[in-house]
Amino acid sequence: MGFWEVTQSLIAGLGNTCLLFALTLVLALPLGLVISFGSMSKFKPLAYLVKVFVWIIRGVPLMLQVIIIYYVPGMMFGTPILSRFSAVVVAFVINYACYFSEIYRGGIESIPKGQYEAGKVLGLTRTQVFFKIVLMQVVKRIMAPMSNEVITLVKDTALARVIMIVEIIQAAQNFAAYGLMWPLFYTAVFYLAFVGILTLLFGYLEKKLDYYKA
C-alpha cells in the first residue's frame, strides 16, 4: 500500500472530520448564546436549571456523551433514532454549546453596565442595545478563549470513532490491520495544517478587531 493510496483514504476520512467540525461550529455558536442567556436569566429557576445542565455536559466525558446519545434511544425504543453521524453531531453541538455559553457569559458580564445604560438613555430597546452595542464588544473580548475551544474541537472530532465513524484517525487505523503504523502518525500532518489555518484565521480576526481599544 503506497503513500498515495494512504493519502487518499486519509483525505476521505478528513471529509468527515471537517463536516463534523463545521456542523458543530455552525450550530453550537448560536445555541451557546441561547444557553448563556438562560444561565443569566433573571428567572432564577431557569438559570439554575441551565447551570446544572452545563455542569453535567461539561462534567461527563464527551466520548461518553456520544455513546449515550447514539445507544440509549436504541435501548429505550428498540431501534436507533439517530444515524451514527447525526448522533455524533448532536452530542458535539450540545457539548460545545455549553462550553461556548460559559465563554459568552464571561464576555457579556465583562461589559460595563454603563454601556447598557447609555443605550437605554438614548431610547434603544434591550434587543438593540445587545445586538448593536454589546455583542461586538463581547466578540472582541472572547476571541482568545474562543480560538482555544475551536482548536480543541478540531482534535475532539477524533472521538467520533467511538461509534465507528470513519474520520481521519479511524481511516489511518484501518491500515493497522495490514500492519501499517505510519499512516496514523501521518494524520498529525493534517491536524497541524488544519490548526495552522485556524490560527492564521483567528490572528487575522483579532487584528481586524484591533482598531479600537476597550
Binding site: P112, G114, Q115, E117, A118, G119, K120, V121, L122, G123, L124, Q128, K132, I133, M136, Q137, K140, Y211, Y212, K213, A214
Partner: protein, 261 residues
C-alpha cells in the same frame, strides 16, 4: 406650566432610603444645578429622572402630563412609553461606544429610531441618513470636535470624550438634558473645555439639570440651585441665595468645608 415637575420622589435600595421625598419644578430653558455631599442621592435622582431607576413613589410630570406615577389601583409604578426621548443624560464616565467612531456614536441611536418606522425608512433611506449625518456634523461643530468625527473614542482625551457624549445626547433633542458630575473624572486642565460647552448649551430650547461640584460654574450658569443632603432638598433658590447667602446649616457647613489638605 413648568416643563418638568417632580413630586415627592422616593427611592430605597433595600433598607436604605436614598431619596426621601424630593420635589422641584423646572421651567423650559432653565438651568438647575444640584450640589451636595457624597451619598446625598444626587446620582440616584438623575437616574430616576432618566428612568434608569424606578422610584418607589412620587410623580414626574412633563408639560403637565404624568410620565411617571404610581397606579392608584394596582399600586405599581407606571412609566409612560416613549418618555425616554424627553430626557437626556450625560454620565460621569462618558460611556461612549468604543467600537464606533465619534460620528457613529452620534448617529447610532437616531438611525435605529428612524428604522423603527420601516415603511417610511425604506422610502426615504437616503434623505434620512443625510439628515442625521448633517445633524451629527452640526453637533460636533458645536462641541468643537469636527475634526475628530472619524476617530475612535479610545484615541480622544477625557475632555473630548465627554464633549462627544454631550453631542450624542443632543442628537435626540432632549427637552431636559441632565449631567451627572460631567467633569469629575477629568484632569483639572480638561474641566474648562467641558464646562464651557455646557454653558454654551444654555438656550430656551432645553432645560438642563447639572449635578456638579464646580460651585463657581454653578453660580455662573444656573437659574436655580438645589443643595441635597441625605436624600432631601435641604435648600433651593437662586445661585446667590444658595451659594452666597445660604440659610441652612448643612449648606453653610458644606460650602465651608475646609479642603481636605
Amino acid at each position: 406650566m413648568p416643563l418638568l415637575e417632580v413630586k415627592d420622589l422616593r427611592k430605597s435600595f433595600g433598607e436604605t432610603e436614598v431619596l426621601k421625598g424630593v420635589s422641584f419644578t423646572l421651567e423650559g430653558g432653565e438651568v438647575l444645578s444640584i450640589i451636595g455631599a457624597s451619598g446625598g442621592g444626587k446620582t440616584t435622582l438623575l437616574r430616576c429622572l432618566n428612568f434608569l431607576e424606578t422610584p418607589d413613589s412620587g410623580e414626574i410630570l412633563v408639560n403637565g402630563e404624568r410620565v411617571f406615577y404610581i397606579d392608584e389601583q394596582t399600586g405599581k409604578p407606571v412609566t409612560v412609553p416613549g418618555v425616554q426621548n424627553i430626557m437626556g443624560l450625560v454620565f460621569q464616565q462618558f460611556n461612549l461606544f468604543p467600537q464606533y467612531s465619534v460620528k457613529e456614536n452620534l448617529t447610532l441611536a437616531p438611525i435605529l429610531h428612524a428604522k423603527s418606522d420601516k415603511a417610511k425608512y425604506r422610502q426615504n433611506k437616503k434623505e434620512i441618513h443625510d439628515e442625521i449625518e448633517q445633524q451629527a456634523d452640526e453637533m460636533l461643530e458645536m462641541v468643537g470636535l469636527s475634526e475628530k468625527a472619524d476617530k475612535y473614542p479610545c484615541f480622544l482625551s477625557g475632555g473630548q470624550q465627554q464633549r462627544v457624549a454631550i453631542a450624542r445626547a443632543l442628537m435626540l433633542s432632549p427637552e431636559v438634558l441632565c449631567f451627572d458630575e460631567p467633569t469629575s473624572s477629568l484632569d483639572p486642565e480638561l474641566t474648562g473645555e467641558v464646562l464651557k460647552v455646557i454653558k454654551d448649551l444654555k438656550s430656551p430650547e432645553r432645560a438642563m439639570v447639572v449635578v456638579t461640584h464646580e460651585l463657581e460654574f454653578a453660580r455662573a450658569v444656573s437659574d436655580k440651585v438645589i443643595f441635597m443632603a441625605d436624600g432631601v432638598i435641604d435648600e433651593m433658590g437662586t445661585p446667590d441665595e444658595v451659594l452666597v447667602n445660604p440659610k441652612s446649616e448643612k449648606t453653610i457647613a458644606f460650602l465651608n468645608v475646609p479642603k481636605g489638605y
